[in-house]
């Protein structure tokens, strides 16, 4: 009868429903993979890209599962940024073939992962394609033209480097943010004059009235080196070092197969990526797949205790990103060197097949 009686009842009903739904919500949350005490993980959450690279061999043949000692749960990523987000959200254990640009950003932002290996040194595989009809012969010709690239990627990084090196600003050249597939569509419509991207989009545009405008040699020399890397969540690699080593071994084997039996390798990659073996082979030939041994050298990641040159590449990339306002601040070189952990790589290289 009194207001209080009702008020209490109303509040009780509200509380009860709130509690029930709160419990329902929490119960619905995915169970975080509790790191069990033991040498092998149950599941390894891997973020990967569907692309024409030897990574697809090891995935398709199940080598990753076999050598790492656990079942891999594969999540396809659309960009390196997605892998970073997933790592920050603790939804991934390993990021496969994440670009050096997002990796530098991730390390600068203290995301909880370490750089444990390289997939490739990109080199000529990502480069500028220009429309023949646009008549672009030298850098200055880009003025007033429209160039597309996926923002945040290694291609974007190289493109911005290209502009800087040639004293072009974003007022001279219109830079558009397009995913590779959208670039192909835009190219077909004639909406863009050039694109900085990787295959298969690159190959498609070349075949449709495009020609190559090589920039990589000059840019690599000036320090705009880009690479695809393998990162592992720090918590995961501390708990399961053997799994990480095994993972890298699996990749090493895939690399071996590409070097010794390219035709077979291309066939497997083609099937995984949904392209013809010829396309797969041609795409893979553009990359510089650095062997595990060479990755350990001073040129690249370096060996445990002895930092390699790649840390400087990451530092330079991060500094550039700061200028671009993409990240707030870049830490010093030492932080990058610390973020590179080659102990697993060294073990993997030792245990040849």
């Amino acid at each position: 009868m009194s207001q209080d009686q009702f008020g209490v009842l109303d509040r009780r009903i509200f509380l009860k429903t709130a509690l029930v739904s709160g419990a329902a919500l929490t119960a619905g949350l995915p169970a975080r993979s509790l790191l069990a005490a033991g040498k092998a993980p149950d599941t390894i959450r891997v973020g990967f890209f569907l692309e024409t690279k030897p990574t697809m061999i090891a995935k398709g043949e199940g080598w990753f599962d076999k050598f790492a000692g656990g079942k891999c749960a594969w999540s396809e990523a659309g960009s390196g940024a997605e892998i970073n987000t997933a790592m920050a959200a603790k939804s991934l254990d390993i990021g496969l073939a994440i670009g050096s640009s997002p990796t530098a950003a991730g390390i600068s932002q203290k995301l909880p992962y370490q750089l444990v290996g390289m997939v490739d040194n990109i080199g000529p595989a990502e480069d500028m394609i220009v429309r023949k009809a646009a008549n672009i012969k030298k850098p200055a010709d880009f003025k007033g033209k429209k160039v597309a690239t996926p923002f945040g990627s290694t291609s974007h990084f190289r493109l911005l480097g290209f502009l800087k090196v040639n004293n072009l600003t974003e007022k001279d050249v219109t830079v558009l943010d397009l995913r590779p597939d959208a670039e192909v569509a835009a190219w077909t419509r004639g909406d863009i004059d050039a694109a900085y991207v990787w295959s298969p989009a690159k190959a498609k545009m070349l075949a449709a009235g495009g020609e190559s405008f090589p920039t990589y040699k000059e840019l690599d020399a000036k320090g705009y080196v880009i690479a695809d890397l393998i990162v592992a969540a720090t918590a995961f690699s501390t708990a399961y070092p053997d799994a990480v080593t095994g993972f890298l071994r699996a990749y090493g084997n895939a690399l071996e197969m590409w070097k010794t039996k390219p035709a077979d390798a291309a066939a497997i990659v083609a099937k995984q990526a949904g392209v013809t073996p010829d396309v797969a082979r041609h795409d893979m030939e553009e990359y510089d797949f650095v062997t595990l041994d060479h990755q350990l050298s001073g040129d690249w990641l370096g060996s445990p205790g002895k930092a390699g040159k790649f840390a400087e590449v990451l530092k330079r990339t991060a500094d550039f990103l700061v200028v671009q306002k993409s990240i707030k601040a870049a830490p010093d070189l030492g932080s990058f060197q610390k973020a590179i952990n080659t102990t697993f790589l060294a073990q993997a290289a030792k245990a040849k097949t």
């Binding site: 940024a81 920050a88 950003a105 007022k171």
Partner: protein, 266 residues
């Protein structure tokens, strides 16, 4: 000395708003406590100070070679273009549908299909067909606003008192006059309600639209900042979008009050 009684009367004057004020205060304290106190990493929830810094930074230096006002302006332009075109065409269509059963029967399945259709799903198709400039974005927003306005206008016409229409006709009014002086004014309230709904939906779709090529717009800015996990920019952008949305809604409300001052009465 006079501060305390002044505070006291302020407290009394606030009345019910005190509860709101306390609630806001609690939220702010929790926010500051969690972030400055180090409970939550800056990446997940920026502290008020870093948000403020981010805001100043955006205002001073812009985002990726455009000022934040330019980004906001471009977003607003898109919202308005899509909304105005969609609402106009939709209202016309709805009026026709309300008046004529045949027109309604013809367009009904198309409207019923279009209305619940998730916008992002056909966005990809629009990009492929219409290119990468403003066109697909405006078309998307147009198609978002159209069914909402059409249904509202249709309901508005159908809700008109038949007695009124008959009375007007019996007084010798032509169909056009009946429409202009009886039907349209009565339906206006519904049309405006539909317009407000449409603005809401278009605004929500705006972010989806700015995923298309372009390096501009508040929605694009949030997405791009999110790529590099710049939570401070993301938050500022979200707040800006929220405030802009609120203002738009209030604006429409004010317009409705000026124009439809007889709403609610029958």
């Amino acid at each position: 000395m006079s501060a305390i009684p002044a505070l006291g009367s302020l407290w009394r004057a606030l009345g019910e708003r005190r509860v709101t004020a306390v609630s806001v205060l609690v939220v702010m304290l929790a926010w500051v406590g969690a972030t400055e106190g180090g409970l939550v990493d800056d990446l997940f929830l920026p502290s008020p100070s870093s948000l403020w810094d981010g805001f100043l930074d955006l205002v001073e230096n812009g985002y990726k070679s455009r000022t934040i006002w330019e980004h906001a302006g471009l977003s607003l332009e898109r919202v308005l273009s899509g909304f105005v075109t969609g609402a106009l065409v939709g209202t016309f269509l709805g009026l026709a549908m309300g008046y004529n059963r045949k027109v309604e029967a013809f367009f009904s399945p198309l409207i019923e299909f279009l209305r619940p259709l998730p916008q992002l799903a056909y966005l990809v198709l629009l990009i492929v067909w219409f290119g990468i400039d403003e066109t697909p974005q405006i078309i998307l927003l147009f198609l978002t606003a159209l069914p909402v306005s059409a249904i509202a206008a249709m309901d508005g016409v159908k809700g008109v008192s038949v007695l009124r229409m008959q009375a007007a006709r019996s007084m010798g009014a032509s169909e056009w006059q009946v429409f202009r002086y009886v039907v349209f004014p009565s339906a206006l309230h519904e049309i405006f309600t539909g317009a407000r709904l449409a603005v809401g939906v278009v605004y929500a779709t705006l972010i989806a639209a700015e995923i298309i090529a372009g390096s501009t717009g508040l929605g694009w800015m949030i997405l791009d900042a999110g790529r590099f996990l710049r939570s401070d920019y993301v938050f500022v952008g979200i707040l800006a979008i929220g405030i802009m949305g609120l203002l738009l809604d209030r604006l429409l409300l004010a317009i409705e009050h000026r124009v439809v001052h007889w709403a609610g009465r029958d």
